[in-house]
């Protein structure tokens, strides 16, 4: 049943991704009235599907890549709705909604078959650890997208070319970028802290010598440094994009390291 709901959600994400194009690019408000309800419905079905999926698998957190992917998609969609609710802009949906569609597509039609024997899967703390870190990743990507939008609009204004009406004003994109980061920081901090406490209690100090774990702490430092620089020097435009891209690259490396780490993997070897 969970697959059916996920497929419904994916279909709705697809519809929303298509509707958001005329809504944003051609400022057709009618399409906005399709894109937003479709996304809200997709989030609902996605949530139901995820809950059923995890319940059926008798564990409380996503354990394989597909389940994680689908949770990440859900968080992206929620982030998009949050930005829409706060700033009334659908421009981010041009990238985020197709991303939600793609993140849901593979799990909906080729669900993961991995079995797991990881003993901590049933604890709520692990669930929090995963959700918080994924939320931090989603916030970072959102910030990167907003910074890119800032850069494009800034270039148009500087070159005296006609501005793109579908892009929000510079100050709005800047706020989205900064507030996303400010939201992501506590998520990442709490996520890493919870993970560390669990690891300390179960595996011991050796856990913290794993390169993947060290990289995760380096990622946190980069995240903090980025926020510090952005807030204190008011960094915007090109340099803000470079900085966000660098941290995003670190995040991707940490994510990819899950495949190679000896102590931190999605599934049992």
């Amino acid at each position: 049943m969970s697959l059916l709901w996920l497929r419904v959600a994916v279909f709705l994400y697809g519809a929303a991704a298509l509707a958001v194009l005329p809504a944003a690019l051609y400022e057709r408000p009618r399409w906005r009235h399709i894109a937003i309800p479709a996304t809200v419905s997709a989030v609902f079905f996605h949530f139901v599907s995820l809950a059923e999926m995890l319940n059926a698998a008798h564990h409380s957190l996503p354990v394989d890549t597909h389940e994680t992917q689908t949770l990440l998609g859900l968080l992206f969609a929620l982030a998009f709705l949050l930005v829409y609710w706060r700033y009334r802009t659908v421009s981010l949906g041009i990238v985020i909604l197709p991303l939600c569609f793609l993140l849901g597509l593979v799990p909906a039609f080729h669900p993961g078959q991995e079995a797991t024997t990881f003993p901590l899967l049933h604890t709520g703390w692990i669930f929090l650890h995963v959700v918080l870190l994924l939320a931090a990743y989603a916030a970072l990507l959102l910030s990167l997208l907003a910074s890119l939008m800032y850069l494009i609009q800034e270039r148009r204004l500087k070159q005296k070319s006609p501005t793109l009406p579908w892009l929000p004003p510079l100050e709005t994109t800047d706020q989205i970028a900064l507030k996303s980061l400010l939201f992501g920081l506590p998520c990442m901090t709490a996520g890493l802290l919870i993970g560390s406490l669990i690891a300390q209690a179960t595996v011991g100090a050796s856990y913290f010598r794993d390169p993947k774990i060290l990289l995760a702490f380096a990622m946190w430092l980069a995240y903090v440094a980025m926020i510090y620089i952005r807030r204190h020097s008011g960094l915007r435009g090109r340099r803000a994009v470079y900085l966000s891209s660098f941290v995003f690259l670190v995040v991707l490396t940490v994510w990819a390291a899950n495949q190679f780490s000896a102590v931190h993997r999605f599934t049992a070897p």
């Binding site: 510079l170 020097s233 008011g234």
Partner: protein, 425 residues
């Protein structure tokens, strides 16, 4: 109020002058001040043969929209009557007006009205005021009882069409004046202008206008710098209100104070640049890179164009603003084509509705006549039907009804068609 279906249709006539047909010298002689519009409308509908009427008077046009009696003799007289009204009411010789007058009837009058309200006939295509002006004229005409059934429905349709044109095209979305372009650009940078600070350097009509536009959009502080302090103070006082903080700053402290402003409008007569690239860097540093928008209306320019290279500084001179305005105007031209298509479609729809409405009285009369005949025939055969059970009576009744309807159907269709053909001829 009489039933619209029962009222004789009448003839729709629109007579007017506008910026395309008459110079300002003529237009100003016919312009009606808002305070006199009700009286003028009342006088118009008291003219012989005029059943309903409305006067639209703006700085660019004066138009008389009337619904007149349908008789052929009156029809040929209608233009002369309206000209006489203009002559008598404004004391302007008919010969002075006649060469500039245009006249539209029926379908073309509807089209013209739709185009006017949709701002397709305006001097600046897409400007939003005209719809409000048409609505104002309508309200006044309604108050004096000059608009009832036919013009009421036409004007309601006009407002719907104008809204449709606004929502389905981008005809009014871009600014075409220098001041509004500057405001638009400021909104592209800052989003809402609530709480923003504007610095006026020098004094000029256009910079004042731009500042007023910015205040309307929410700018809350106006700083004025001028080489003549008294002039700066006077200007600051002019902008002062309960919502706007104003301050005159001395020209000597300009470079220390300028970073307080989000938007700087310069219009001095200085022969050399007032703000250079390094000033921009300095301001941005002090503002922690919060953007600044420089609107340079002065000729020669007050702001070094190289300041635009500083990240966070946006510099637009008068040519840049003019260029954006021209591009927006061209965009409006393209959107106007889409708007014309909507108007044509809506004129067709309106005419069709009108035509089917015209046929309704005849259709009703025919149906009534047929029903009377049916009832009479049933009554005549009552004795022969006396032996029938209630169900059988019901069946006979239904049968006669169906027969009547089927016999009438070709006639009714022909009637509708002939009304449509007659009207389109």
């Amino acid at each position: 109020m009489s039933d619209p279906v029962q009222t004789k249709p009448g003839s729709l006539v629109l007579l007017g002058i506008n910026h395309n047909t008459a110079p300002i010298e003529v237009r100003e002689r016919l312009a009606i001040p808002a305070g006199r519009l009700a009286d003028a409308t009342r006088t118009l509908v008291h003219q012989p043969g005029i059943r309903e009427g409305l006067i639209l008077s703006t700085c660019n046009r004066v138009e008389l929209l009337t619904l007149q009696d349908d008789a052929e003799s009156i029809r040929s007289q209608s233009k002369a009557d309206l000209l006489r009204f203009l002559h008598e009411y404004f004391a302007v010789p008919t010969l002075d007006i006649q060469p500039h007058i245009y006249e539209f009837r029926e379908r073309e009058a509807v089209r013209h009205l739709f185009r006017v309200a949709s701002s397709l006939d305006s001097m600046v295509v897409g400007e939003p005021q005209i719809l409000g002006q048409v609505k104002e004229s309508y309200t006044i005409a309604r108050e004096v009882g000059a608009v009832s059934t036919h013009l009421e429905s036409l004007l309601q349709r006009t407002f719907t069409v104008a809204k449709k044109v606004r929502s389905e095209t981008q005809i009014g979305s871009s600014s075409v004046s220098i001041a509004s372009v500057a405001v638009d650009l400021a909104r592209k940078i800052f989003g809402s202008l609530q709480g923003k600070t504007v610095l006026l350097v020098g004094a000029g009509k256009m910079s004042e206008l731009a500042a007023r536009h910015l205040i309307q959009q929410g700018a809350s502080s106006i700083l004025v710098a001028n080489r003549t302090t008294s002039r700066a103070e006077k200007l600051a006082a002019e902008f002062s209100s309960s919502n706007v903080y104003t301050e005159a700053i001395s020209f000597d402290s300009l470079y220390e104070q300028a970073d307080r402003a989000d938007i700087v409008i310069t219009s001095t007569g200085a022969p050399q640049k007032i703000f250079g690239r390094s000033h921009g860097q300095h301001f941005l540093h002090r503002r922690r890179n919060r953007p600044m928008f420089f609107i340079d209306i002065a000729v020669p320019r007050d702001v070094d164009p190289r300041m635009n290279e500083v990240e966070g500084c946006f510099v637009y001179d008068i040519d840049d603003l003019q260029q954006v305005a021209s591009a927006n105007l061209a965009d409006r031209g393209r959107e106007a084509q889409a708007a014309e298509t909507i108007v044509s479609r809506e004129v067709d729809k309106y005419q069709q509705r009108l035509q089917s409405r015209d046929a309704v009285p005849a259709i009703k009369a025919l149906q009534q006549q047929a029903e009377q005949l049916r009832q009479a025939e049933l009554a005549r055969s009552q004795s022969k039907l006396a032996g029938l059970s209630p169900e059988q009576r019901e069946a006979v009744d239904a049968l006669t009804r169906a027969l009547t309807a089927k016999l009438l159907h070709p006639q009714l269709t022909a009637l509708r068609e002939s009304t449509r053909t007659k009207d389109s001829d």
